[in-house]
Symmetry: C2
Subunit: 154 residues, 2 copies
DNA sequence: CGGAAATAGTCAGTGTGCTGATGAAATCTC
DNA sequence: GAGATTTCATCAGCACACTGACTATTTCCG
């Protein structure tokens, strides 16, 4: 008695969704490169030369996790990591040629995987689905970092 | 160039949602008991005497993870774990009195937390949000275990 | 009954994800 | 310019989460 229906708990559903995604990713995208690794690679293709802090901001990972993921990617020679000569604290990251190749290949496969994952939803529902999750996640992230509101000027 | 917009990737959004949830859980529900631990406890309050496999089925965790989580809960004396005398392979689990107390307390707090997490959505959107995630997760889980469809007869 | 197959649990190994402590480098301030 | 503060990275420690290998027990079947 007094037990709760977990299907009304967004946290539980989020975990299930992630599991489902993880499963499909392994089956349809890659067994070697994980989805967070792809996200990091993707951020560095968009902005080569970013440091770890910058990557973490873009893909929403904390410092420690970024260091781990970057470590794995550099070990596989998908990333180059060099000390910033201008600022000895920073490690500048950029994708290798191989990293760009892998990224290109996985991008295509990830698109196919997303199709399968979202197959149960009608077209209009898909956009809605994505925007609802994003609104909830955005709001919660804003709770964490107080302000930083509105558009950041150049 | 050729970088992807991760906000169109449900997997990435799922991870961000989970992170947001994790954060709020820590702040508003408990720093000691995690959300998966609560889920396991909840399953055993609904059905005391379940074995680990049964728990894993209910909360969607694999055998190894269930063993980990159950280990932590028994170490904290929130769960009792005894060998099934009828079937020596099984470990029968049931919540302790303390486990029930903790569960009751966290249930109230989790409800408050869910309110905050879903605050950015209007009432109708919340139900929609939950049902969309559930449909996607359900469908993906069905991909994993072929059949097992329809109602399982008594 | 007795061997083969199925089932429950454990263990080792890997990867994500967090916090908190530490160290190194840059910047700010007096 | 020297000391305090901030910033970037690393490390240890914990918790989830999966796979694959292994053990113990039970069940199934000849």
């Amino acid at each position: 008695m007094a037990a709760v229906d977990l299907s009304t708990h967004p946290g539980h559903l989020a975990r299930r969704l992630q599991q489902a995604h993880h499963l499909l990713w392994n089956a349809m995208v890659s067994e070697e490169i994980t989805s967070p690794q792809f996200a990091v690679l993707n951020a560095l293709i968009a902005e080569p030369g970013l440091d770890q802090r910058g990557v973490g901001e873009r893909v929403r990972l904390d410092r420690s996790t970024v260091a781990d993921v970057v470590g794995r990617l550099t070990r596989r020679d998908l990333l180059d990591k060099v000390r910033d000569p201008q600022d000895g604290r920073r490690a500048l990251l950029r994708p290798t040629a191989e990293g760009r190749r892998v990224h290109r290949r996985l991008t295509v496969r990830a698109a196919r995987m997303n199709e399968v994952l979202l197959a149960p939803l009608a077209d209009e529902e898909r956009a809605l689905f994505l925007s609802l999750i994003q609104r909830v996640a955005d709001a919660a992230e804003r709770l964490r970092d107080p302000l930083a509101e509105t558009v950041t000027p150049s």
